[in-house]
Amino acid sequence: MQRPDWAPETIDIERPSVARMYDYYLGGSHNFAADRAAAQAMVAAVPDAPLMAQANRAFLRRAVQFLTDAGVRQFLDIGSGIPTVGNVHEIAQRGAPESRVVYVDVDPVAVAHSREILAGNDRAAVVQEDLRHPERILAHPDVRRLLDFDQPVAVMIVAVLHFISDDDRPGRILRTLREALAPGSYLVLSQASDDGRTEEERAEAERVYRRTDNPLWVRNRAELTAFFDGFALVEPGVVWVPEWRPDSPESAEDAERAVFMGGVGRLGG
């Protein structure tokens, strides 16, 4: 019998966590010196990093709003990270209080923090699991308890797929999730893309993230589009995230600076 693979030997705050680095980019203080040092190194290499995180977070907000407006009332947010401002359940439950949200993250600190935030919210839960094991996520009792897979569910995989290597077969992960979904379900996806970046910038970003537990895997638009296999992309398709249904035309300016590409797909039927 082995130790469960999600239980690290120690919780080491000397080691940067991608969840807390992301929180730092967003202006939060849910982070430690090592996280800030790594995030600052990233900013030195890629000065737009905070902008990227903010643009991505804004994409998440608009996508959830879009889904809420489309009548979706169930959300599975995988790779949810540190629950900083603008969480899925805040946005969804503000519009539709009956919305149910399950967060999934592999980082035990992020999970413990989420659990504290969600205390008292019986329509939201957090599960510690790895996106690499979608079947475990789908079988988790808390996921089964809150989400009814006979009804549409929005699966959010936002700013996390670039931590999944090709060896982990992201296509298989997405297929497993898709096969569990009812018609009318949605997939929201975004990840770092190397379209339009210099080789140097990409190398430097990858070097910074090699210090974390999660090295970076950037992908281009075609690869991202392929992840939506089986889903019908809603307008405008896979784009730089600021271009995805912007609040105002000017907020989509210089969109490629956001580095993140994303899209929303709907399961037909």
Partner: protein
Amino acid sequence: MAAPARPGAFARAWAKAVSGTSFLPMTQAQLEALLQRLTDQLADALLAEPFDLRPGHRVGTELVANHIASAEGLGRTVEVLQLRLIRDLGLVGDDVEDRMARLLAAIATGYARALRDRTLDEQESIRRAVMTARAQAERALRDSEARFRHQATHDPLTDLPNRALFTERLTAALNEPGRGAERIGLCFLDLDRFKVVNDTLGHQAGDRLLITVANRLRRALDGHLVARLGGDEFVVLVERTGGTDDVVAVADTALAAVREPAIVDGTELTVTASLGIVERQIAGTTPGHLMRAADSTMHWAKAAGGARWEVFDAERNRRELARHALSAAIPAALERGEFYLDYQPLTSLRDGSLLGVEALVRWRHPELGVLHPGSFIGLAEETGLIVPLGGWVLAEACREAERWSARGGRAPFVSVNLAVRQVHRPGLVQEVRGLLQRTGLPPERLQLEITESTMMSTTEEPVRALRVLADLGVRIAIDDFGTGYSNLAYLRDLPVTELKVAGEFVAGLRAPAAEPASRTDERILASLVSLAHALDLTVTAEGVETAGQADRLRAIGCDAGQGWHFGRPAPADRILERVG
């Protein structure tokens, strides 16, 4: 959240200034509406009588609460307010510039306080999350270690402690300081004929039976450590015994628990067990000794028919160990040439001539001295080592016997004992034919002695082999005739040349002829001789020790004799010299 007021040019400019300074979980329109509300509050404050700084604090606090919460957010707010608020809103007043400066200071103060509080709160909450996560990880680790430890020390089928844990506990009990004078006991238990259950009902049924037995032992022997060693073997540790009786009581309980009928797959099964008991003082013993002693004792119980316990007996164990050691040494002894042959004469009762000699194996053991067949042939037969040993005897006898013809005159035949396993081996005919060819010994100078029990087998093969050998000219003798199952049917089928009559009939002839028992033996011998002669067989009497016996045997018509009267076993040279 936002006031319905339409955002004015100033609020829009403010919103534009703070966008992108940190993540704002709202649309641009929501942000503008929020800042319009704050603008209104600031405008009111600038004109209010008396002048009050508290709205400035509140605006600073509210900005942070709405996540406009970065250094840049504050800087740009101060800038845009200072540059545009009074002008854009057309505010007029004597001291409005003065008030603006003080209000900005209040906003910055409120903002910095709120941001500091928020930062500290967030730091606290993330540290709390780390502690929670750490506690959980440690608990998970402890649980998994406990689970791991349990799995490493327990049998997965029955959940009883396994051999590793049992050995650990036993070792601890033996090594605990100050307990040397105490006594300890083991019960080694093995189900009888468990294999039959597996073979007839299947392994799943066997497993269920083991679970049932394990549960009963656990219940019945509460307070003693019961472990499953593997297969259908269980062991019980009985600590602080006062003597063997204490362990016997445990053994009785265990056997009774096993004996209760068990329902497995709707079949009622009654199983029994064999149990070995060892009980002794702790001082001077080791876990290995105790386990081996209990294990051997269990096998004694099994050999005695099972469904019982036996208590360890050091003397019996010593004998068995010695026997075991002896049999284990046979292959090496063969290689080192520690075996040799003596020969005993088979003498004609008619003219006293030497007809043949019986080869008798000896073992010149480096420690025990010369051993006679009685001390190792039985062992060799049990272990199957009789095949290489018997093969060596046969080859050596043929090799030596061939040389005897060089002495001139009629050389005696050599008679060699064949064990049951040798006769039943497929290669016997080839082996003998090969030996005769290699040594050049004429077939009629080789006699193979087999026992009646060799022929008890129902298979045809040995009979066919012996017939082939007889056709070659090899003599076949039945050894110890008259002591076996007295089924004479095989005499019809077998190409027997000679009967060797067992020494116990001959022994009777030592008594005076007038004694009734002696007369009976004589009559039996006479009938055997006449039966043999009627079948055209010769008869050799074994165990002839006196001249009187020889005379009476001759009178009966017996053909030959063997025994001390005619000569003890000795090296071939000495035998041949004497007749030479």
